[in-house]
């Protein structure tokens, strides 16, 4: 009896803390969405959880007066993130396949090298990267933001770990006996077997690329090529200082698609995060 009371009390504490944390996670976004439909004056009067009726007006101000083109930014980000994802997935799986299926003299060295480079962040070589891209005339294009995705060490690492358990080498042998070329075996047999891992990685690569701010800021200079986060950074400038309603609206427009995608894929995403941690 006493034991069950103690457990009961402890459970009450756990649920209370969890509730507070969930509210803390959601509240800033809720205030943002509500404020997107309120007038500047009302926003300054205090927090409210009841939407206002200025959504249409704020929308008009944002589009006409502020010239803030959310659709354009999204399309730009979509191109960069989409191409990066496709390149990273295909070539990382190809690299992992090379490392898992074939034995060659430099196999172990190649894998060790990939692992060693895994945690060197791109930020530390950005200056040399920028001046090189500048000399090549590639600044203010999306190539420097997408092509490097072909060499994504963390994705290779993940794909290799998955392939070790998901791809029976007997299958590759069987395909060979049937006369399938090596490249064909990879495309037709190995790649489809990797689907679950590809799906998980696709979500993470896409969102990771979509959210990047540092490299695009350095490389992209004309505003019609700005990616979404670069556009968001503009919201701090003085021309927006006087109208918070449109700032919250613009932020809502940038956040809403991610929240929708997240809620739809949350199960896969959370499973993916858990998997990444155990990696073995």
């Amino acid at each position: 009896m006493k034991y069950s009371v103690r457990i009961g009390l402890k459970k009450a504490l756990v649920y209370t803390v969890s509730f507070v944390l969930c509210v803390t996670s959601v509240m800033p976004f809720l205030v943002m969405f509500v404020n997107a439909s309120r007038e500047n004056y009302d926003i300054q009067q205090g927090i409210s959880l009841i939407p206002g009726n200025m959504l249409k007006e704020n929308m008009q101000t944002l589009r006409d007066r502020q010239n803030f083109n959310v659709a354009r930014g999204m399309w730009n980000s979509f191109q960069v993130a989409g191409l990066s994802t496709v390149l990273a997935l295909y070539f990382s799986t190809l690299t992992a396949y090379g490392l898992v299926v074939y034995s060659f003299r430099l196999r172990k060295a190649a894998f060790t090298l990939i692992m060693a480079t895994m945690m060197i962040p791109t930020q530390v070589s950005i200056v040399g990267f920028f001046t090189f891209m500048f000399r090549m005339g590639l600044t203010n294009t999306y190539w420097p933001l997408t092509i490097p995705a072909i060499a994504s060490p963390t994705v290779v690492f993940f794909m290799r770990q998955y392939m070790l358990t998901a791809l029976p080498l007997e299958m590759v042998e069987a395909a060979r006996i049937d006369g399938s070329s090596e490249f064909n075996t990879f495309n037709r047999i190995a790649l489809p077997l990797m689907k679950p891992a590809l799906a998980t990685q696709a979500i993470f690569i896409f969102i990771g690329s979509w959210n990047r701010l540092f490299e695009p800021t350095m490389l992209i200079s004309s505003q019609d090529k700005y990616t979404m986060p670069m556009l968001v950074a503009l919201l701090r400038s003085d021309r927006f200082r006087t109208d918070y309603g449109t700032v919250y609206l613009a932020l809502s427009l940038t956040v809403l698609p991610l929240i929708v995608v997240y809620l739809l894929l949350s199960k896969h995403i959370i499973r993916g995060v858990a998997l990444g941690g155990v990696k073995e």
């Binding site: 459970k11 756990v14 969890s18 969930c22 996670s25 800033p28 976004f29 943002m32 404020n35 300054q44 009067q45 927090i47 070539f91 190809l94 690299t95 090379g98 074939y102 034995s103 060659f104 196999r107 692992m115 060693a116 895994m118 060197i120 930020q123 530390v124 070589s125 950005i126 200056v127 040399g128 990267f129 090189f132 420097p144 092509i147 072909i150 060499a151 070790l164 090596e182 990879f186 959210n211 701010l213 540092f214 800021t217 979404m228 986060p229 968001v232 950074a233 701090r236 918070y244 932020l251 956040v255 991610l258 929240i259 949350s266 959370i270 995060v273 858990a274 941690g277 155990v278 073995e280």
Partner: protein
Amino acid sequence: MATGRKNKSVSYARYGYLFILPFFLVYIVFQAYPLINTFYLAFQKYMLTGAGKWVGPKFVGLDNFKNVLTKGYAIRALSNTSIMWIINFIPQIFLALLLAKWFTDTRMRIRGQGLIKVLVFMPNIITAASISVLFYSLMAYPQGPINSLLATLGVIDANIYANPGTAALVAVRFLEKGWYTRIAIAFINFWMWYGNTMIVLISGILGISPTLYEAAEIDGATSGQSFRKITIPLIKPIILYTLVTSLIGGMQMYDVPALMLQDGSPAKAMIQTNTMYIMELVYSGTKDYGRGAAVSILLFIVTAVLSLILFFILRDRDENMVKRRGQK
């Protein structure tokens, strides 16, 4: 099976090289060469003046390093970054561990875990730039929503224009007072990442064999004892992995502090990170690529040391896995 592999290696080895070739080509051109180029530039005087005139490259030895370390802000930036990372990470790992303990406790069987995980992880997936500008707006002075909330709660005077002499406390200048801004930045990072850390720790704890806990329970261990004596020692590698990845990521911290920095705010001296300093050197006005590269190299050295630690952790884990696979 071992002999099968050997036969293959004779005829198919070239495909191995062919398949890993694109990775290494792109890596060399887009990552290794830029890193070497950064090293080279760190020892050169190389800049683009505001008028569009190129100066250099001209070899200047260690001048750039001396400059950023003594006259410049490299040390300050490194200490700012470390301080903000520490105030974010210590509460983050403790909260994540506490929640992981609660949610895996079989005696409590907490329900609704799926929903809790979805909600507390959410900030991690949203664009850091959007989140920073959101908090930047929420913390506005004097009438931002957070100050309004503080006034409603009676923490600060409701009349935000009250004379500081008469009011108990006035609206807070979150974005101008160094420590407030630092704590705000650390809080945002904490808020964005503790859900991620929690999920990683939970999956680590769930990987521990339940028989260990059953045995402990039969021997009369409390859940606190089981946690200290079984869980913590067994998830130590995962905690270490979280620590090192967070530290390496933290050293590159850019989005949140850069967007929480108000133009001309005195808080800059206390929140400018290394990546922000690099951006300042090479992005506006006179673009000083030599000094920017020097700061990058300092950051690289710090990161490389941390990476090396992680590399050894991961390598040991991988070797264990290959061994186990061999036994099958």
